[in-house]
Each structure stands twice: as structure tokens, then as C-alpha cells.
Amino acid sequence: MNTETYPHSEEKLPLLDGLHEQYNIHLDTFDGPMDLLLHLIRKNELDICAISIAVITRQYLAYIKLLKELNLEVAGEFLVMAATLLQIKSRQLLPQDEQEEPEPEEEDPRSELVRRLQEYQQYKEAGMLIGARALLGREVFLRTAAEPVLVAAQNTEGPLEVSLFELVDAFRALLQSIPEEQFHDVAPGDSLSIADCINEILSLLQERETVQFDELVRDELTRERIIVTFLALLELCRLKLIRIFQVDHHGPIWFVPAVAMSSAEV
């Protein structure tokens, strides 16, 4: 994702050629640092379990340096991996105290990385296997002609087939087609909206007859949460969807659906 474009500048090319000879790193698109590491391991004919961190780190950094010299963008992920490699290497350089029993967590500093690489390699291979299958619309085709007997009858009764993404997408498309000022969002903001909170309360009331205020805020006792919940309750009350009551002073606040579910359903 980072090296999709080949360099345009002429004077950089000799440098690139030199590298081709010395390291044989081709500027393919590497799908992230894991992909690059696997490539380096294979190039050096190393076993993932017995990688030489020194060799791999040097080549990995060389690749990043090359990208930079070619003025290609180096994504943050590649730098994070560089830091991880350097950290593993520095841990390997630390003198080992041979007298002491090795602590249980003092495992090979490489092992975490090795595990990630192995797992990544599995999915990379599985992805290639899946991609090599005969695909519908590419190698395999269905009958497209509609059966005349069935064409006449349109059906609206059957089981529904629609995905969640289609639902959100329909909503998104709709909002985009509406001028900004007509669309009134109850509480825009980054975290919690009154609309979300109303949905939450309605969803709870589908399951139970009574809900206590404390239950709504118990999991997240923040000022924002309490205020938003309170406003959501006021809104629901204003819409006459719930009734709120409190038995004792300072006692728990309860609320119930204003209309019994059975009578509300038509």
C-alpha cells in the first residue's frame, strides 16, 4: 500500500540497480511490514523459527532507507516494525546471567514475532488458495434467464434477505442527498448521542416492563453519560413513550413504557 508507485526521478535509478544486485530486493508492493519480513526471510532461505534478527533487521532497515531515498512514503506501520526489530535485537545483546534460573517470561525475545509471522503466513497462504478458486462471475456462471412461469408472480412474502451494511448504506446515501440544514441530528458529537441513548432505552423496554435509571448508567458512570441518559429520558417522556416515577425521596428512579407493548403492537 505504500510503494505502489515506481520512482520517476532518473538519478535515483542507478542506486536502485545497485541494490538489485546486492540485495535483490525488488520494489514490489509489500502489504505491510509482515509481508516484507516474510519476503526477507524467504530471500535469505531462513526458517521462520530460527531467523537471524541481525540479518533481517539490517535488510529491513535498508529497505526502509531505500524507500525514503526514493522519496516514497513510509507508512507508520513499517516504522513500528523497525522499532520492534531493534528492540528484539537489543534484548538479544543484553548479557545473559548464566547463574540465574531463567525467568519464565524471559523467553526468546524473537518468539512473539515468530508467532505473528507464522500466523500471518498461514493467512497469506490461505488467501492465495481462496483467490485461486474458480470464482463466480470469473470462471463460473449461473443461469441468468428468468423462468417464464415465475416472472409473472412478484413476491413480497418470503424471508427477508438484506444485510446490515445495506441498511447503513441506504441511510448514508439518503442523508447525503438531503441538504445539510434539513437534517437535524439530536446530538452530534464524538461519543454518545441522545438518539443512541433513546435506542438503548427502547431496546431495554422491549425486554422488560420496568427499568431503573441506575441500570442505564451503571456501566459507564461519567458525567456525560448521566446527562445524555437524563436528556434521553426527558425526550421519551415528552413523547409520552415512558412514565417515570420515584417511590421515595432520593430513592431509585424507575420508568415503564407508557403504553403496554401488547396494545402498542398493531
Binding site: 545497485g18 541494490l19 546486492q22 540485495y23 539490517r58 532497515l61 535498508a62 526502509i64 532507507k65 531505500l66 525514503k68 513510509v74 507508512a75 507508520g76 506501520e77 516504522l79 523497525a82 531493534l86 449461473l142 443461469r143 441468468t144 434467464a145 423462468e147 412461469v149 415465475l150 413476491n155 413480497t156 412474502e157 418470503g158 424471508p159 427477508l160 434477505e161 438484506v162 444485510s163 446490515l164 445495506e166 441498511l167 447503513v168 441506504a170 441511510f171 448514508r172 439518503l174 438531503i178 434539513q182 437534517f183 438518539a195 443512541d196 435506542n199 438503548e200 427502547l202 431496546s203 422491549q206 415528552r238 413523547l239 409520552k240 413513550l241 407508557a258 403504553v259 402498542a264 403492537e265
Partner: protein, 201 residues
């Protein structure tokens, strides 16, 4: 004759959206002789008739197509009632508005969609995806709509909180925090002092 030819022709007729004429088949298969193709077609007709399946290949109105046996139409029409109903764009939009903006009145839904939604709301009510929550205390006392338990079941949601928000979908392909950060200077030669010189610098 190429022994694969009947299968090739069969696959062409099968995937065509309307009847394929012999001429068209010959056009599509220039490497085969017209007579070969004609022989293969009669072979196909014969082999489908012989195997006694649920459909046959026939030539009608100048074209070849597959047709189910009329004797079986009584069975075929049965699945009209149970085949999955494709959701119309208007029901999907209306359902989305109710889901994301509930509690909501019909007038509010119509304001957002810009068209009359009475029929769509009624069919959503009949499908039990939408329910009436109560009446709004304004003149006219309009009905207030929300989604139902069945709505959650159809979409496999635990509760309404699990509905993905617009923001979450939009945030997917935004540039991650990571890459917006100022890049830190990285000097490999200094960071790896023991590894010796890099091959270029």
C-alpha cells in the same frame, strides 16, 4: 466432431439471458464448423430428452433455450411464495430512517425521504419489522414508530446499541491516526551501530 462441443454449446445456452439462435452460436464459436454445431445441437436435444430430467433444451422462435417440463410447473410455482423477498430500495430507506431516528413519526420519515411513506410503513408493520411505540402529544396525535424485536432478529443484532453508526462506517477508510502523525527521523546507521556500514549511504 469435437467431443466437448455439446458441453460448450450447452454452457453458452445455459448462461444466455435469452434464446440463442444457431447463427449466434456459430458466431460465438468460429473455430467450429456450422455442420458440427448443428449435429451437436441435435445430440444435446436427444441426450436431454433421454435422461428424463426436469428440463430440456428446445428451439423456439429461432433460438435455443432451456425450458422446464410443463408437467412440473405445479411444483415450480410453489417456490414463488418462499423465495427470499428482495428488499425494495424504498423499504430499505424507510427502515433505515426508522432504525436510526426512532422514535419517529410518519411525517418525519416523509420529510427525510421527500415522498409519501404510508404504504411502505404499512408493509414494514405487516412484516413486523417496525412497530408503533405510541402517539405523539402534538395536534393530530400522530403515531410514533420504532423498530421491533423481529428487526433485530433479521439483522442478527443483540440490541439496538449494536446497530453500526454512520460514523463507524465512514471512519473505516479514513486515514488512520498512525499515518497522520509526524514522521520520526529514523537513522538506521546510528540505530544499528554494531552491524557495520550499510551498503549504501
Amino acid at each position: 466432431m469435437n467431443s466437448e462441443l455439446p458441453a460448450i454449446i450447452e454452457s453458452l445456452v445455459f448462461t444466455a439471458d435469452s434464446a440463442l439462435s444457431t447463427d449466434r452460436i456459430c458466431e460465438l464459436l468460429p473455430e467450429f464448423d456450422r455442420n458440427e454445431i448443428k449435429t451437436a445441437l441435435s445430440e444435446l436435444v436427444e441426450s436431454h430428452r433421454r435422461r428424463g430430467g426436469g428440463f430440456e433444451i428446445v428451439e423456439v422462435a429461432g433460438g435455443w433455450h432451456f425450458r422446464t417440463l410443463p408437467a412440473l410447473h405445479g411444483y415450480i410455482t410453489r417456490h414463488i411464495k418462499t423465495r427470499p423477498a428482495k428488499f425494495s430500495q424504498s423499504s430499505l430507506e424507510t427502515l433505515a430512517i426508522v432504525a436510526y431516528r426512532q422514535p419517529i413519526t410518519r411525517a418525519e420519515v416523509e420529510h427525510l425521504r421527500g415522498v409519501d411513506c404510508g404504504g411502505v410503513l404499512k408493509s414494514l408493520l405487516e412484516k413486523h419489522l417496525v412497530r408503533i411505540l405510541g402517539k405523539k402529544d402534538i395536534p393530530g396525535r400522530p403515531l410514533i414508530y420504532g423498530t421491533s424485536k423481529e428487526f433485530l432478529e433479521v439483522f442478527g443484532l443483540k440490541d439496538l446499541k449494536s446497530l453500526p453508526t454512520l460514523r463507524e462506517i465512514q471512519a473505516l477508510d479514513e486515514v488512520p491516526l498512525f499515518e497522520r502523525q509526524e514522521e520520526l527521523p529514523l537513522e538506521p546507521e546510528k540505530a544499528v551501530p554494531t552491524e557495520g556500514e550499510l551498503p549504501f549511504s
